[in-house]
Protein backbone atom coordinates (compact mmCIF):
# COMPACT_ATOMS: atom_id res chain seq x y z
CA UNK A 1 0.00 0.00 0.00
CA UNK A 2 1.14 3.46 -0.81
CA UNK A 3 0.89 5.74 2.18
CA UNK A 4 1.44 9.41 1.65
CA UNK A 5 2.96 11.26 4.56
CA UNK A 6 1.76 14.76 5.28
CA UNK A 7 3.74 17.11 7.45
CA UNK A 8 1.95 19.42 9.87
CA UNK A 9 2.52 22.33 7.50
CA UNK A 10 1.00 20.46 4.58
CA UNK A 11 -2.03 19.70 6.63
CA UNK A 12 -2.43 23.30 7.69
CA UNK A 13 -2.02 24.49 4.11
CA UNK A 14 -4.67 22.14 2.83
CA UNK A 15 -7.06 23.24 5.53
CA UNK A 16 -6.45 26.94 5.20
CA UNK A 17 -6.84 26.97 1.42
CA UNK A 18 -10.14 25.18 1.70
CA UNK A 19 -11.23 27.55 4.47
CA UNK A 20 -10.53 30.71 2.52
CA UNK A 21 -12.46 29.73 -0.56
CA UNK A 22 -15.41 28.66 1.56
CA UNK A 23 -15.58 32.02 3.31
CA UNK A 24 -15.06 34.10 0.20
CA UNK A 25 -17.85 32.18 -1.52
CA UNK A 26 -20.07 32.85 1.45
CA UNK A 27 -19.24 36.54 1.31
CA UNK A 28 -20.22 36.65 -2.37
CA UNK A 29 -23.52 34.97 -1.55
CA UNK A 30 -24.09 37.46 1.25
CA UNK A 31 -23.65 40.41 -1.13
CA UNK A 32 -26.25 38.91 -3.47
CA UNK A 33 -28.83 38.96 -0.67
CA UNK A 34 -30.55 42.33 -1.07
CA UNK A 35 -31.77 42.66 2.52
CA UNK A 36 -28.32 41.84 3.89
CA UNK A 37 -26.55 44.16 1.47
CA UNK A 38 -28.83 47.08 2.32
CA UNK A 39 -28.35 46.33 6.01
CA UNK A 40 -24.60 46.18 5.58
CA UNK A 41 -24.66 49.62 3.95
CA UNK A 42 -26.91 51.13 6.63
CA UNK A 43 -24.82 49.66 9.42
CA UNK A 44 -21.57 50.90 7.90
CA UNK A 45 -23.11 54.37 7.50
CA UNK A 46 -24.23 54.49 11.13
CA UNK A 47 -20.83 53.28 12.29
CA UNK A 48 -18.89 55.76 10.14
CA UNK A 49 -21.17 58.61 11.20
CA UNK A 50 -20.76 57.71 14.86
CA UNK A 51 -16.99 57.52 14.62
CA UNK A 52 -16.26 60.50 12.37
CA UNK A 53 -19.49 62.51 12.33
CA UNK A 54 -18.89 64.48 15.55
CA UNK A 55 -15.70 66.03 14.06
CA UNK A 56 -17.70 67.65 11.28
CA UNK A 57 -20.50 69.06 13.39
CA UNK A 58 -20.38 72.53 14.88
CA UNK A 59 -21.69 71.48 18.30
CA UNK A 60 -20.18 69.44 21.09
CA UNK A 61 -22.14 66.78 22.87
CA UNK A 62 -21.85 68.35 26.33
CA UNK A 63 -22.18 71.95 25.12
CA UNK A 64 -25.22 73.49 26.81
CA UNK A 65 -26.88 76.51 25.30
CA UNK A 66 -29.61 78.08 27.39
CA UNK A 67 -30.83 80.11 24.43
CA UNK A 68 -31.79 77.06 22.44
CA UNK A 69 -33.68 74.75 24.75
CA UNK A 70 -36.03 72.20 23.13
CA UNK A 71 -35.46 73.49 19.60
CA UNK A 72 -37.36 71.32 17.14
CA UNK A 73 -35.38 69.77 14.28
CA UNK A 74 -34.61 72.33 11.59
CA UNK A 75 -32.08 72.94 8.86
CA UNK A 76 -31.68 76.68 9.52
CA UNK A 77 -30.62 76.48 13.16
CA UNK A 78 -28.01 73.83 12.38
CA UNK A 79 -29.63 71.54 14.94
CA UNK A 80 -30.79 69.00 12.37
CA UNK A 81 -32.34 66.73 14.98
CA UNK A 82 -33.27 69.52 17.41
CA UNK A 83 -31.98 70.10 20.94
CA UNK A 84 -32.73 68.79 24.39
CA UNK A 85 -33.73 70.44 27.68
CA UNK A 86 -30.18 71.68 28.21
CA UNK A 87 -29.93 73.07 24.71
CA UNK A 88 -27.54 70.33 23.61
CA UNK A 89 -27.55 69.26 19.97
CA UNK A 90 -29.33 65.92 19.63
CA UNK A 91 -27.55 64.74 16.48
CA UNK A 92 -24.14 65.03 18.08
CA UNK A 93 -25.41 63.28 21.18
CA UNK A 94 -26.88 60.45 19.14
CA UNK A 95 -23.57 59.98 17.33
CA UNK A 96 -21.63 59.97 20.59
CA UNK A 97 -24.19 57.61 22.06
CA UNK A 98 -23.73 55.42 19.01
CA UNK A 99 -19.99 55.18 19.67
CA UNK A 100 -20.70 53.93 23.14
CA UNK A 101 -23.59 51.62 22.29
CA UNK A 102 -21.73 50.08 19.37
CA UNK A 103 -18.49 49.64 21.28
CA UNK A 104 -20.29 48.09 24.23
CA UNK A 105 -22.00 45.82 21.73
CA UNK A 106 -18.71 44.78 20.21
CA UNK A 107 -16.59 44.53 23.35
CA UNK A 108 -19.16 42.69 25.47
CA UNK A 109 -19.80 40.35 22.57
CA UNK A 110 -16.08 39.64 22.30
CA UNK A 111 -15.91 38.91 26.02
CA UNK A 112 -18.77 36.46 25.72
CA UNK A 113 -17.35 34.91 22.56
CA UNK A 114 -14.02 34.31 24.27
CA UNK A 115 -15.67 32.72 27.30
CA UNK A 116 -18.22 30.80 25.24
CA UNK A 117 -15.77 29.44 22.67
CA UNK A 118 -13.25 28.37 25.28
CA UNK A 119 -15.90 26.72 27.41
CA UNK A 120 -17.71 25.11 24.48
CA UNK A 121 -14.63 23.69 22.74
CA UNK A 122 -13.27 22.25 25.99
CA UNK A 123 -16.58 20.60 26.86
CA UNK A 124 -17.12 19.34 23.33
CA UNK A 125 -13.58 18.22 22.62
CA UNK A 126 -12.91 16.34 25.83
CA UNK A 127 -16.46 15.04 26.25
CA UNK A 128 -17.36 12.45 28.87
CA UNK A 129 -17.92 13.39 32.50
CA UNK A 130 -16.31 16.81 32.09
CA UNK A 131 -18.76 17.62 29.31
CA UNK A 132 -21.73 16.44 31.38
CA UNK A 133 -20.75 18.58 34.36
CA UNK A 134 -19.92 21.65 32.26
CA UNK A 135 -23.17 21.47 30.34
CA UNK A 136 -25.21 20.90 33.49
CA UNK A 137 -23.74 24.16 34.82
CA UNK A 138 -24.79 25.94 31.64
CA UNK A 139 -28.26 24.44 31.96
CA UNK A 140 -28.60 25.72 35.51
CA UNK A 141 -27.35 29.18 34.59
CA UNK A 142 -29.82 29.24 31.69
CA UNK A 143 -32.68 28.90 34.12
CA UNK A 144 -31.68 32.07 35.94
CA UNK A 145 -33.22 35.44 35.30
CA UNK A 146 -29.88 36.64 34.06
CA UNK A 147 -30.78 40.23 33.38
CA UNK A 148 -31.78 40.61 36.98
CA UNK A 149 -28.42 39.12 37.80
CA UNK A 150 -26.67 41.83 35.83
CA UNK A 151 -28.69 44.46 37.65
CA UNK A 152 -27.66 43.00 41.00
CA UNK A 153 -24.02 42.98 39.90
CA UNK A 154 -24.34 46.62 38.91
CA UNK A 155 -25.90 47.45 42.26
CA UNK A 156 -23.30 45.65 44.32
CA UNK A 157 -20.19 46.76 42.48
CA UNK A 158 -21.32 50.21 41.51
CA UNK A 159 -22.17 51.61 38.12
CA UNK A 160 -18.89 51.28 36.34
CA UNK A 161 -18.69 51.14 32.57
CA UNK A 162 -15.97 48.47 32.49
CA UNK A 163 -18.00 46.33 34.83
CA UNK A 164 -20.91 46.81 32.45
CA UNK A 165 -18.87 45.31 29.59
CA UNK A 166 -17.85 42.42 31.77
CA UNK A 167 -21.25 41.76 33.32
CA UNK A 168 -23.04 41.70 29.98
CA UNK A 169 -20.34 39.54 28.43
CA UNK A 170 -20.50 37.19 31.37
CA UNK A 171 -24.19 36.45 30.94
CA UNK A 172 -24.32 36.30 27.15
CA UNK A 173 -21.80 33.47 26.71
CA UNK A 174 -24.20 30.63 27.49
CA UNK A 175 -25.78 30.29 24.04
CA UNK A 176 -22.37 30.56 22.43
CA UNK A 177 -20.98 27.80 24.64
CA UNK A 178 -23.86 25.49 23.74
CA UNK A 179 -23.57 26.02 20.00
CA UNK A 180 -19.79 25.77 19.96
CA UNK A 181 -19.91 22.55 21.97
CA UNK A 182 -22.33 20.96 19.52
CA UNK A 183 -20.23 21.96 16.53
CA UNK A 184 -17.00 20.84 18.20
CA UNK A 185 -18.45 17.39 18.78
CA UNK A 186 -19.29 17.00 15.11
CA UNK A 187 -15.97 18.43 13.91
CA UNK A 188 -13.82 16.27 16.17
CA UNK A 189 -15.22 13.16 14.47
CA UNK A 190 -13.82 14.30 11.09
CA UNK A 191 -10.83 12.59 9.51
CA UNK A 192 -8.50 15.56 9.56
CA UNK A 193 -8.71 15.74 13.35
CA UNK A 194 -7.85 12.05 13.49
CA UNK A 195 -4.94 12.81 11.18
CA UNK A 196 -3.68 15.58 13.43
CA UNK A 197 -4.01 13.35 16.45
CA UNK A 198 -2.01 10.63 14.75
CA UNK A 199 0.67 13.20 14.01
CA UNK A 200 0.93 13.71 17.74
CA UNK A 201 -0.39 17.24 17.94
CA UNK A 202 -1.45 18.27 21.40
CA UNK A 203 -5.13 18.76 22.22
CA UNK A 204 -4.52 22.45 22.74
CA UNK A 205 -3.00 22.88 19.28
CA UNK A 206 -5.75 20.84 17.65
CA UNK A 207 -8.39 23.05 19.22
CA UNK A 208 -6.58 26.27 18.24
CA UNK A 209 -5.47 25.26 14.77
CA UNK A 210 -8.20 22.98 13.50
CA UNK A 211 -11.36 23.20 15.53
CA UNK A 212 -11.70 26.94 16.04
CA UNK A 213 -10.98 27.89 12.38
CA UNK A 214 -13.72 25.48 11.36
CA UNK A 215 -16.08 27.05 13.85
CA UNK A 216 -15.44 30.52 12.45
CA UNK A 217 -18.58 30.60 10.31
CA UNK A 218 -20.87 29.68 13.17
CA UNK A 219 -19.13 32.12 15.49
CA UNK A 220 -19.48 34.98 13.01
CA UNK A 221 -23.19 34.32 12.57
CA UNK A 222 -23.74 34.34 16.31
CA UNK A 223 -21.67 37.46 16.77
CA UNK A 224 -23.96 39.34 14.42
CA UNK A 225 -26.96 38.05 16.31
CA UNK A 226 -25.41 38.68 19.72
CA UNK A 227 -24.32 42.28 19.17
CA UNK A 228 -27.93 43.48 18.90
CA UNK A 229 -28.97 41.65 22.04
CA UNK A 230 -26.02 43.19 23.90
CA UNK A 231 -26.95 46.65 22.63
CA UNK A 232 -30.50 46.08 23.85
CA UNK A 233 -29.20 44.88 27.21
CA UNK A 234 -27.00 47.94 27.65
CA UNK A 235 -29.82 50.28 26.67
CA UNK A 236 -32.12 48.45 29.01
CA UNK A 237 -29.77 49.04 31.92
CA UNK A 238 -29.09 52.62 30.90
CA UNK A 239 -32.81 53.20 30.54
CA UNK A 240 -33.24 52.19 34.17
CA UNK A 241 -30.39 54.45 35.18
CA UNK A 242 -28.14 51.49 35.97
CA UNK A 243 -25.92 51.58 32.91
CA UNK A 244 -23.98 54.41 31.30
CA UNK A 245 -23.87 57.55 33.49
CA UNK A 246 -23.78 61.25 32.64
CA UNK A 247 -21.87 63.01 31.16
CA UNK A 248 -21.37 59.97 28.94
CA UNK A 249 -24.35 58.96 26.87
CA UNK A 250 -25.62 55.97 24.96
CA UNK A 251 -28.70 55.27 22.86
CA UNK A 252 -30.36 53.73 25.89
CA UNK A 253 -29.74 56.88 27.95
CA UNK A 254 -31.05 59.09 25.14
CA UNK A 255 -34.19 56.99 24.66
CA UNK A 256 -34.76 57.04 28.39
CA UNK A 257 -34.46 60.85 28.48
CA UNK A 258 -36.55 61.14 25.36
CA UNK A 259 -39.36 59.03 26.74
CA UNK A 260 -39.54 61.24 29.80
CA UNK A 261 -39.74 64.38 27.71
CA UNK A 262 -41.74 63.14 24.77
CA UNK A 263 -44.70 65.31 25.67
CA UNK A 264 -42.68 68.47 25.04
CA UNK A 265 -40.16 67.23 22.50
CA UNK A 266 -41.04 64.12 20.50
CA UNK A 267 -37.77 64.23 18.55
CA UNK A 268 -35.80 63.36 21.65
CA UNK A 269 -37.47 59.94 21.60
CA UNK A 270 -37.97 59.32 17.89
CA UNK A 271 -34.46 60.00 16.54
CA UNK A 272 -32.42 57.94 19.02
CA UNK A 273 -35.06 55.21 18.74
CA UNK A 274 -34.76 55.28 14.96
CA UNK A 275 -30.96 54.93 15.05
CA UNK A 276 -31.22 52.06 17.47
CA UNK A 277 -33.96 50.22 15.61
CA UNK A 278 -32.13 50.62 12.28
CA UNK A 279 -28.96 49.20 13.82
CA UNK A 280 -30.76 46.26 15.42
CA UNK A 281 -32.71 45.46 12.26
CA UNK A 282 -29.57 45.67 10.10
CA UNK A 283 -27.64 43.37 12.38
CA UNK A 284 -30.49 40.88 12.38
CA UNK A 285 -30.72 40.89 8.58
CA UNK A 286 -26.95 40.52 8.24
CA UNK A 287 -27.02 37.62 10.68
CA UNK A 288 -29.81 35.87 8.79
CA UNK A 289 -28.06 36.51 5.49
CA UNK A 290 -24.77 35.17 6.83
CA UNK A 291 -26.44 32.04 8.09
CA UNK A 292 -27.95 31.38 4.68
CA UNK A 293 -24.69 32.25 2.95
CA UNK A 294 -22.57 29.94 5.07
CA UNK A 295 -25.00 27.05 4.89
CA UNK A 296 -26.53 27.26 1.42
CA UNK A 297 -27.87 23.73 1.34
CA UNK A 298 -30.40 24.47 4.02
CA UNK A 299 -32.49 26.76 1.85
Amino acid sequence: MNIKHYSKDDLDNILSVKGNSLYSDAFKRLLKNKASLTSLIILSLITLLSVFGPYFLQYDFYETDWNSIYLPPSLESGHYFGTDGNGRDLLVRILYGGRLSLSIGIIATLVSVIIGVTYGTIAGYFGGKLDTIMMRIVEILYAMPYLIFVIILMVVFGRNIYLLFLAIGAVEWLTMARIVRGQTISIKEKEFIEASKSLGQSSFLIIIKHIIPNLAGTIIVYITLMVPSVIILESFLSFLGLGVQEPLTSWGVLISEGSREMETAWWLLIFPGLFMVLTLASLNFIGDGLRDALDPKEY
Binding site: I140, A143, M144, P145, Y146, L147, I148, F149, I151, I152, L153, M154, V155, V156, F157, G158, I232, S235, F236, F239, L240, G241, L242, G252, I255, S256, G258, S259, M262, E263, W266, L269, I270, G273, M276, V277, L280, A281, N284
Partner: protein, 307 residues
Protein backbone atom coordinates in the same frame (compact mmCIF):
# COMPACT_ATOMS: atom_id res chain seq x y z
CA UNK B 1 -45.36 11.62 35.77
CA UNK B 2 -44.70 11.79 39.51
CA UNK B 3 -41.21 10.50 38.81
CA UNK B 4 -40.66 13.33 36.37
CA UNK B 5 -41.82 15.93 38.88
CA UNK B 6 -39.55 14.51 41.57
CA UNK B 7 -36.64 14.43 39.15
CA UNK B 8 -37.20 18.05 38.16
CA UNK B 9 -37.59 19.18 41.74
CA UNK B 10 -34.31 17.45 42.49
CA UNK B 11 -32.68 19.86 40.03
CA UNK B 12 -34.80 22.93 40.77
CA UNK B 13 -34.34 23.03 44.54
CA UNK B 14 -30.52 22.89 44.55
CA UNK B 15 -30.51 25.50 41.77
CA UNK B 16 -32.66 27.76 43.88
CA UNK B 17 -30.37 27.24 46.88
CA UNK B 18 -27.37 28.14 44.71
CA UNK B 19 -29.11 31.34 43.62
CA UNK B 20 -29.93 32.21 47.21
CA UNK B 21 -26.35 31.46 48.26
CA UNK B 22 -25.12 33.73 45.48
CA UNK B 23 -27.40 36.53 46.59
CA UNK B 24 -26.42 35.94 50.22
CA UNK B 25 -22.75 36.06 49.31
CA UNK B 26 -23.13 39.21 47.22
CA UNK B 27 -24.83 41.03 50.04
CA UNK B 28 -21.84 40.33 52.22
CA UNK B 29 -19.20 41.61 49.82
CA UNK B 30 -21.29 44.58 48.76
CA UNK B 31 -19.76 47.90 49.71
CA UNK B 32 -22.13 49.84 51.92
CA UNK B 33 -24.27 46.76 52.26
CA UNK B 34 -26.16 45.53 55.26
CA UNK B 35 -23.24 43.46 56.46
CA UNK B 36 -20.43 45.97 56.32
CA UNK B 37 -19.51 48.18 59.20
CA UNK B 38 -19.07 51.56 57.53
CA UNK B 39 -22.78 52.22 57.35
CA UNK B 40 -24.77 55.01 58.86
CA UNK B 41 -28.16 53.58 59.61
CA UNK B 42 -30.81 54.50 62.08
CA UNK B 43 -30.20 52.27 65.10
CA UNK B 44 -33.61 50.63 64.94
CA UNK B 45 -32.96 49.30 61.44
CA UNK B 46 -29.46 48.25 62.36
CA UNK B 47 -30.90 46.31 65.24
CA UNK B 48 -33.57 44.75 63.04
CA UNK B 49 -30.95 43.62 60.55
CA UNK B 50 -28.78 42.20 63.29
CA UNK B 51 -31.77 40.33 64.59
CA UNK B 52 -32.90 39.26 61.17
CA UNK B 53 -29.57 37.82 60.11
CA UNK B 54 -28.14 36.68 63.46
CA UNK B 55 -24.87 38.41 62.71
CA UNK B 56 -23.21 37.10 65.83
CA UNK B 57 -23.35 33.48 64.62
CA UNK B 58 -20.92 31.70 62.26
CA UNK B 59 -21.45 32.35 58.54
CA UNK B 60 -22.72 28.92 57.62
CA UNK B 61 -25.24 29.00 60.43
CA UNK B 62 -26.37 32.44 59.30
CA UNK B 63 -26.96 31.08 55.84
CA UNK B 64 -28.94 28.20 57.30
CA UNK B 65 -31.14 30.58 59.25
CA UNK B 66 -31.57 32.81 56.18
CA UNK B 67 -32.59 29.79 54.10
CA UNK B 68 -35.09 28.51 56.62
CA UNK B 69 -36.62 31.99 56.88
CA UNK B 70 -37.00 32.12 53.11
CA UNK B 71 -38.53 28.66 53.15
CA UNK B 72 -41.12 30.05 55.58
CA UNK B 73 -41.64 32.97 53.23
CA UNK B 74 -39.88 35.61 55.31
CA UNK B 75 -37.60 37.82 53.25
CA UNK B 76 -36.50 40.09 56.09
CA UNK B 77 -36.81 43.84 56.68
CA UNK B 78 -36.33 46.40 53.95
CA UNK B 79 -33.00 48.13 54.13
CA UNK B 80 -34.19 51.52 52.90
CA UNK B 81 -37.94 51.65 53.53
CA UNK B 82 -38.15 52.00 57.27
CA UNK B 83 -40.99 50.16 58.98
CA UNK B 84 -41.61 47.89 56.01
CA UNK B 85 -40.59 44.30 55.53
CA UNK B 86 -39.63 43.10 52.07
CA UNK B 87 -42.67 40.83 52.23
CA UNK B 88 -44.99 43.78 52.69
CA UNK B 89 -43.42 45.66 49.78
CA UNK B 90 -43.54 42.67 47.49
CA UNK B 91 -47.10 41.85 48.46
CA UNK B 92 -48.22 45.36 47.67
CA UNK B 93 -46.70 45.18 44.19
CA UNK B 94 -47.43 41.56 43.42
CA UNK B 95 -51.09 41.82 42.37
CA UNK B 96 -50.20 44.50 39.85
CA UNK B 97 -47.23 42.67 38.36
CA UNK B 98 -49.15 39.42 38.34
CA UNK B 99 -52.13 40.92 36.50
CA UNK B 100 -49.77 42.48 34.00
CA UNK B 101 -47.65 39.36 33.60
CA UNK B 102 -50.48 36.86 33.32
CA UNK B 103 -52.43 38.95 30.82
CA UNK B 104 -49.27 39.43 28.79
CA UNK B 105 -48.32 35.77 28.80
CA UNK B 106 -51.81 34.59 27.89
CA UNK B 107 -52.08 37.11 25.07
CA UNK B 108 -48.59 36.30 23.77
CA UNK B 109 -49.17 32.57 23.82
CA UNK B 110 -52.65 32.62 22.30
CA UNK B 111 -52.09 35.33 19.73
CA UNK B 112 -48.54 34.28 18.91
CA UNK B 113 -49.46 30.63 18.36
CA UNK B 114 -52.61 31.46 16.44
CA UNK B 115 -50.86 33.91 14.10
CA UNK B 116 -48.01 31.46 13.62
CA UNK B 117 -50.34 28.59 12.73
CA UNK B 118 -52.39 30.65 10.28
CA UNK B 119 -49.25 32.08 8.69
CA UNK B 120 -47.92 28.55 8.25
CA UNK B 121 -51.14 27.26 6.70
CA UNK B 122 -51.43 30.30 4.45
CA UNK B 123 -47.74 30.26 3.67
CA UNK B 124 -46.55 32.82 1.09
CA UNK B 125 -49.85 34.71 1.08
CA UNK B 126 -50.37 38.33 2.05
CA UNK B 127 -51.47 37.23 5.53
CA UNK B 128 -48.21 35.36 6.03
CA UNK B 129 -46.11 38.31 4.88
CA UNK B 130 -48.10 40.70 7.07
CA UNK B 131 -47.64 38.57 10.19
CA UNK B 132 -43.95 38.07 9.55
CA UNK B 133 -43.47 41.77 8.80
CA UNK B 134 -45.14 42.86 12.02
CA UNK B 135 -43.22 40.26 13.99
CA UNK B 136 -39.99 41.58 12.51
CA UNK B 137 -40.88 44.98 13.95
CA UNK B 138 -41.64 43.28 17.26
CA UNK B 139 -38.17 41.74 17.27
CA UNK B 140 -36.22 44.81 16.16
CA UNK B 141 -38.00 47.41 18.27
CA UNK B 142 -37.14 46.90 21.94
CA UNK B 143 -39.94 47.39 24.45
CA UNK B 144 -38.40 50.55 25.89
CA UNK B 145 -38.61 52.17 22.45
CA UNK B 146 -41.99 50.73 21.59
CA UNK B 147 -43.75 51.61 24.85
CA UNK B 148 -42.98 55.36 24.78
CA UNK B 149 -43.88 55.53 21.08
CA UNK B 150 -47.19 53.75 21.70
CA UNK B 151 -48.06 56.05 24.57
CA UNK B 152 -46.97 59.07 22.52
CA UNK B 153 -49.30 58.03 19.71
CA UNK B 154 -52.33 56.50 21.43
CA UNK B 155 -52.08 58.41 24.68
CA UNK B 156 -50.92 61.89 23.80
CA UNK B 157 -51.60 62.30 20.10
CA UNK B 158 -54.90 60.46 19.77
CA UNK B 159 -55.84 60.72 23.44
CA UNK B 160 -57.53 57.30 23.43
CA UNK B 161 -55.80 55.73 26.39
CA UNK B 162 -54.31 56.79 29.71
CA UNK B 163 -50.52 56.73 29.56
CA UNK B 164 -49.74 56.07 33.18
CA UNK B 165 -51.00 54.90 36.52
CA UNK B 166 -52.72 51.81 37.81
CA UNK B 167 -56.14 53.27 38.60
CA UNK B 168 -57.23 50.20 40.52
CA UNK B 169 -56.59 47.88 37.60
CA UNK B 170 -58.87 49.71 35.16
CA UNK B 171 -58.84 47.91 31.83
CA UNK B 172 -57.97 51.06 29.87
CA UNK B 173 -54.93 51.61 32.04
CA UNK B 174 -53.84 48.05 31.33
CA UNK B 175 -54.05 48.12 27.52
CA UNK B 176 -50.85 50.00 26.67
CA UNK B 177 -48.62 48.25 29.23
CA UNK B 178 -49.89 44.81 28.29
CA UNK B 179 -49.57 45.49 24.56
CA UNK B 180 -46.02 46.81 24.83
CA UNK B 181 -45.07 43.94 27.09
CA UNK B 182 -46.53 41.22 24.88
CA UNK B 183 -45.64 42.48 21.41
CA UNK B 184 -42.00 41.31 21.46
CA UNK B 185 -43.10 37.92 22.77
CA UNK B 186 -45.90 37.64 20.20
CA UNK B 187 -43.27 38.32 17.56
CA UNK B 188 -40.96 35.59 18.78
CA UNK B 189 -43.71 33.04 19.44
CA UNK B 190 -45.45 33.56 16.10
CA UNK B 191 -42.15 33.02 14.26
CA UNK B 192 -41.40 29.89 16.24
CA UNK B 193 -44.90 28.56 15.77
CA UNK B 194 -44.86 29.29 12.06
CA UNK B 195 -41.64 27.40 11.41
CA UNK B 196 -42.55 24.46 13.62
CA UNK B 197 -46.00 24.21 12.02
CA UNK B 198 -44.47 24.24 8.55
CA UNK B 199 -42.09 21.52 9.64
CA UNK B 200 -44.97 19.44 11.01
CA UNK B 201 -47.10 20.01 7.91
CA UNK B 202 -44.28 18.57 5.83
CA UNK B 203 -43.87 15.52 8.02
CA UNK B 204 -44.81 12.00 7.01
CA UNK B 205 -47.59 11.55 9.52
CA UNK B 206 -49.48 14.53 8.13
CA UNK B 207 -49.25 12.92 4.70
CA UNK B 208 -50.74 9.81 6.31
CA UNK B 209 -53.53 11.89 7.83
CA UNK B 210 -54.28 13.39 4.41
CA UNK B 211 -54.23 9.94 2.86
CA UNK B 212 -56.75 8.85 5.47
CA UNK B 213 -59.10 11.47 4.03
CA UNK B 214 -59.32 13.46 7.24
CA UNK B 215 -60.80 16.93 6.71
CA UNK B 216 -58.28 19.76 6.73
CA UNK B 217 -59.61 21.40 9.87
CA UNK B 218 -59.37 18.17 11.84
CA UNK B 219 -55.86 17.51 10.55
CA UNK B 220 -54.78 20.86 11.94
CA UNK B 221 -56.53 20.51 15.30
CA UNK B 222 -55.86 16.83 15.99
CA UNK B 223 -52.64 16.03 14.20
CA UNK B 224 -50.63 19.18 13.61
CA UNK B 225 -51.00 21.44 16.62
CA UNK B 226 -50.08 18.97 19.32
CA UNK B 227 -46.77 18.39 17.60
CA UNK B 228 -46.02 21.90 16.48
CA UNK B 229 -46.82 23.47 19.86
CA UNK B 230 -43.97 21.59 21.59
CA UNK B 231 -41.26 24.23 20.93
CA UNK B 232 -43.62 26.84 22.39
CA UNK B 233 -44.04 24.76 25.55
CA UNK B 234 -40.26 24.65 25.87
CA UNK B 235 -40.18 28.40 25.37
CA UNK B 236 -42.59 29.02 28.25
CA UNK B 237 -39.91 29.61 30.87
CA UNK B 238 -37.66 31.83 28.70
CA UNK B 239 -40.76 33.78 27.68
CA UNK B 240 -41.63 34.35 31.30
CA UNK B 241 -38.10 35.45 32.05
CA UNK B 242 -38.42 37.87 29.13
CA UNK B 243 -41.71 39.18 30.46
CA UNK B 244 -40.26 39.61 33.95
CA UNK B 245 -37.40 41.73 32.72
CA UNK B 246 -39.73 43.50 30.30
CA UNK B 247 -42.13 44.33 33.10
CA UNK B 248 -39.35 46.07 35.01
CA UNK B 249 -39.14 48.58 32.16
CA UNK B 250 -42.85 48.70 31.41
CA UNK B 251 -43.82 49.38 35.03
CA UNK B 252 -41.27 52.18 35.03
CA UNK B 253 -42.57 53.74 31.82
CA UNK B 254 -46.25 53.51 32.68
CA UNK B 255 -45.83 54.37 36.34
CA UNK B 256 -47.26 51.15 37.69
CA UNK B 257 -46.37 50.38 41.34
CA UNK B 258 -45.51 46.70 40.71
CA UNK B 259 -42.63 44.53 41.83
CA UNK B 260 -40.46 45.63 38.95
CA UNK B 261 -40.78 49.20 40.15
CA UNK B 262 -39.64 48.23 43.63
CA UNK B 263 -36.78 46.30 42.10
CA UNK B 264 -35.52 49.34 40.19
CA UNK B 265 -35.98 51.67 43.13
CA UNK B 266 -34.29 49.11 45.35
CA UNK B 267 -31.43 48.75 42.87
CA UNK B 268 -30.92 52.50 42.52
CA UNK B 269 -31.02 53.02 46.30
CA UNK B 270 -29.00 49.93 47.06
CA UNK B 271 -31.74 48.35 49.10
CA UNK B 272 -30.01 44.98 49.24
CA UNK B 273 -32.67 43.07 51.13
CA UNK B 274 -35.40 44.25 48.78
CA UNK B 275 -33.38 43.48 45.65
CA UNK B 276 -32.44 40.01 46.83
CA UNK B 277 -36.01 39.34 47.90
CA UNK B 278 -37.29 40.19 44.41
CA UNK B 279 -34.51 38.14 42.86
CA UNK B 280 -35.45 35.10 44.93
CA UNK B 281 -39.12 35.54 44.07
CA UNK B 282 -38.34 35.77 40.34
CA UNK B 283 -36.06 32.74 40.47
CA UNK B 284 -38.68 30.65 42.31
CA UNK B 285 -41.35 31.67 39.80
CA UNK B 286 -39.07 30.66 36.96
CA UNK B 287 -38.30 27.29 38.52
CA UNK B 288 -42.03 26.73 38.89
CA UNK B 289 -42.57 27.57 35.21
CA UNK B 290 -39.81 25.25 34.08
CA UNK B 291 -41.52 22.49 36.06
CA UNK B 292 -44.87 23.43 34.56
CA UNK B 293 -43.54 23.34 31.02
CA UNK B 294 -41.94 19.94 31.67
CA UNK B 295 -45.25 18.59 32.89
CA UNK B 296 -47.11 20.06 29.93
CA UNK B 297 -44.60 18.52 27.59
CA UNK B 298 -45.04 15.12 29.19
CA UNK B 299 -48.80 15.41 28.78
CA UNK B 300 -48.60 16.48 25.14
CA UNK B 301 -45.79 14.24 23.99
CA UNK B 302 -46.22 10.55 24.93
CA UNK B 303 -42.60 9.87 24.06
CA UNK B 304 -41.39 11.77 27.12
CA UNK B 305 -42.95 9.42 29.66
CA UNK B 306 -40.71 6.56 28.63
CA UNK B 307 -37.53 8.23 29.86
Amino acid sequence: MIQLIIKRLAIAIPTLIIIIAFVFGLMRVAPGGPFTNERALPPEIEQKINEAYDLDKPLIQQFGIYLSKIAKGDLGPSYKYKDFTVNELILSGFPISLTLGISAIIISLLLGSLLGIIAAIKRNTIFDYAVMGVSLIGICVPSFVLAPILSLFFGLYLGFLPISGWNGGNIYNLILPVVSLSLPQIAIISRMMRSSTIETLNSNFIRTARAKGIPKRRIITKHVIRSSILPIIDYLAPATAGLMTGSIIIEQIFGLPGIGRYFVVGALQRDYTLVSGVMILYASLLMFLILLSDILRAILDPRVKIK
